[in-house]
Symmetry: C2
Amino acid sequence: MRTTVDAVIHEIRDALGDAGVLTGPALAERTTSDWSEADAALPGALVLPRTPAEVAAALRILHTHHCAVVVQGGLTGLAGGANPRPGEVALSLTRLDRIEALDAIGGTAVVQAGVTLERLQSAAEETGWFFPLDLGARGSCQLGGNAATNAGGNRVLRFGMMRNLVLGLEVALPDGTLLTMLDRVIKNNAGFDLKHLFIGTEGTLGVVTRLSLQLVPRPLHQPTALCAVPDFASALALLRDSKSRLPGLTAFELMWSDFFEASCRAQRKASPFGQAHPLYVLIEGFAASEEVGNASIEHLLEHAFDRGLVTDAVVAQSGSQAGQLWAYREGVSELLSVCKPLAAFDVSVATTRMDELVTQLRACLTQAFPSQQHLFFGHLGDGNLHLISGNFAGHDDVVRAEEMVYAIVGEFQGSISAEHGIGTVKRPFLHHSRTPEELRLMQQLKGWLDPRNILNPGRVLPELDRA
Amino acid sequence: MRTTVDAVIHEIRDALGDAGVLTGPALAERTTSDWSEADAALPGALVLPRTPAEVAAALRILHTHHCAVVVQGGLTGLAGGANPRPGEVALSLTRLDRIEALDAIGGTAVVQAGVTLERLQSAAEETGWFFPLDLGARGSCQLGGNAATNAGGNRVLRFGMMRNLVLGLEVALPDGTLLTMLDRVIKNNAGFDLKHLFIGTEGTLGVVTRLSLQLVPRPLHQPTALCAVPDFASALALLRDSKSRLPGLTAFELMWSDFFEASCRAQRKASPFGQAHPLYVLIEGFAASEEVGNASIEHLLEHAFDRGLVTDAVVAQSGSQAGQLWAYREGVSELLSVCKPLAAFDVSVATTRMDELVTQLRACLTQAFPSQQHLFFGHLGDGNLHLISGNFAGHDDVVRAEEMVYAIVGEFQGSISAEHGIGTVKRPFLHHSRTPEELRLMQQLKGWLDPRNILNPGRVLPELDRA
């Protein structure tokens, strides 16, 4: 039984006030779709609660009326999960934007779900702390969405995914029950750790309303180097060495030569090296001081040169030089704009098999799409490989490339989504990374926790429709 | 409907062979209870599968017959969770003892659940790697149990709990479905991350049969220092400084003076300091070399002396000196043997409130039990506080002390179990750390995943009996 969206909107407006529900022209002015290019309908209404209790109240009404709802944070997702489908109401966490507590002695923060990543990063830095999650969308993405999608980004190697930074959560269940679990402790084995049900499940099991987060002390110095590496085995040996010799290793970014060269071209930036090399690695660490940081990285490189793991290297002598070195890796945004239509992949595989995977992907893609570029780079330390393929002749070729890549990743027992999630876009490919037994248990969990299938229906998992 | 245990044993023997089921005298010779002093019955039989498929087959039979089963690993738990209750069959993972793979290039291992922690530690070290989980029971505890209980221990500050080291799991569900999720990648956002349902739920939702684990490079040097600290605020400031200045900080152990002095007495060991101090902190890090490690720790201490955070310190000049310093902290085992009957607590609280909690606990315990010792120490970096109270006049006083401590921890929004788990022993106190809504969802999950309530019934959660 689904009642009309009008009746639902009326009840939610009664509960949240006029400012809590947008429809008509006021709604049409708002952005209600994400950064992916997936299909998005205009939602029947945009619900804008101001408090966790209002989120719960809205869900209770939606649940009573069996009305489907799509949850929206900063709308920076790349998998289409936040895009409304026809007939759905959208629920945005944007007005839950308070940093409720920032413990400058213990290094923890309690924030509402709609606070942007960048706001927390800045607030932490003002008190001498540091929130280590970082990704390109930092200015718009919201912490609730970061938890719901288990965001990754630039410093996973040292600090883990968002999951590792969440001490506690508050979550509104599909029936409007508010589950307050705002632990501020790292260790808590008092019964089941329920927050893990909601982290990374892309809003299909509950809506994150507040978070308790771990901060770390602000880094004193970040030694940074760009290295030219002769082959993949050397890159793996250098990774292991870097973990030993730079205990504060935060990034180990691998770039294949064609990516590196395309990035230079797209940015009209010269390579810092006199000649081309097969692979490039960007290393970044946290250190106690500039002196210690530079000594450690020089010591690491000296050892690597002696063993032939590195054939050339540039060590940044200042923060701005470090930024220059990062630009080779960050050049991906310029690349994206010149490769459309393109397919962008975010897969992962056991680090030792990454080179073999790249070789196979490159061979298959080059055979099928000989006149396109296929550019490989990734977070080697995390086993996370990114690949940009383009420009394609049209959307059909993009789909063909996707089918080819995900099937090969599945054969390598890799993940078809290392950090971007599944949403709607990668739903058809999920079976390449998960067994039928896993998919069945995921569907059961969804059915148990959201028996009316109102919360983000049709995302992540194969369709369930018992609403 | 429960059939007799005899019929079940007969069927399991048919499936697993004679060596797969012990009863009678052969059973009586085996240890079937854990390190806690909780009640333990003799199980109806001890099932000893050799493979994950045999675990699944045994569970399928138990499930068909609605027969309760208790899962046993190394039997080193402190919460009574592995102790059989009357009428239960015990299922031990001991014969699943193969290290199936150790990737010496990428630094991952795939092991069966019955491999002991120490065996993996040794196997990793032989290939230049290091498995960072470490606890006193290392020689007996099994990795499957470490995952089921989300073990903590000595290096959580740097490497996290067992949860953070598990890349993938294989789990047999209560109905005998085998869920193989042996990912070897750090990043995998392809749908729900189901392993978190089984980590830390103490075998109530499934039986871990195999694990895929993350290794880290073997430390090159471990700088270690024991510091005398004037007050708690200084200890907190020193913790923050240590995190900044020793990026490889692995331990930050706080000891209140009465614990430190009792530990010295119990071991007949002199303090390395000329006078008594209010607090002692043991600091350990990972460093690239002895030179870098010593320079970093001396730099850290110099800065701490200047700011008055530390009033005296000893830096270990060798591995054996580091062991000597660790002995002050490890003296807890000697203390436990001279304090019986005792109550040993493992709680956690936001680090900034730890001193306030200690003050209140000390005041209440001293008032109620003036002639007992109440000794405080803990992993300050993790917010994890240990407390040993004893010798009590009898068991009733132990229970009274437990009730008092857990109620106060609850008022501080702390956890009544930071790392030891709930089992049967702490089940009556779980409500101090979890809300009714959380307890209800935990019970629902148990009911959904184990509708016949055959797996570790009566552990962790308030009783559910629909078998």
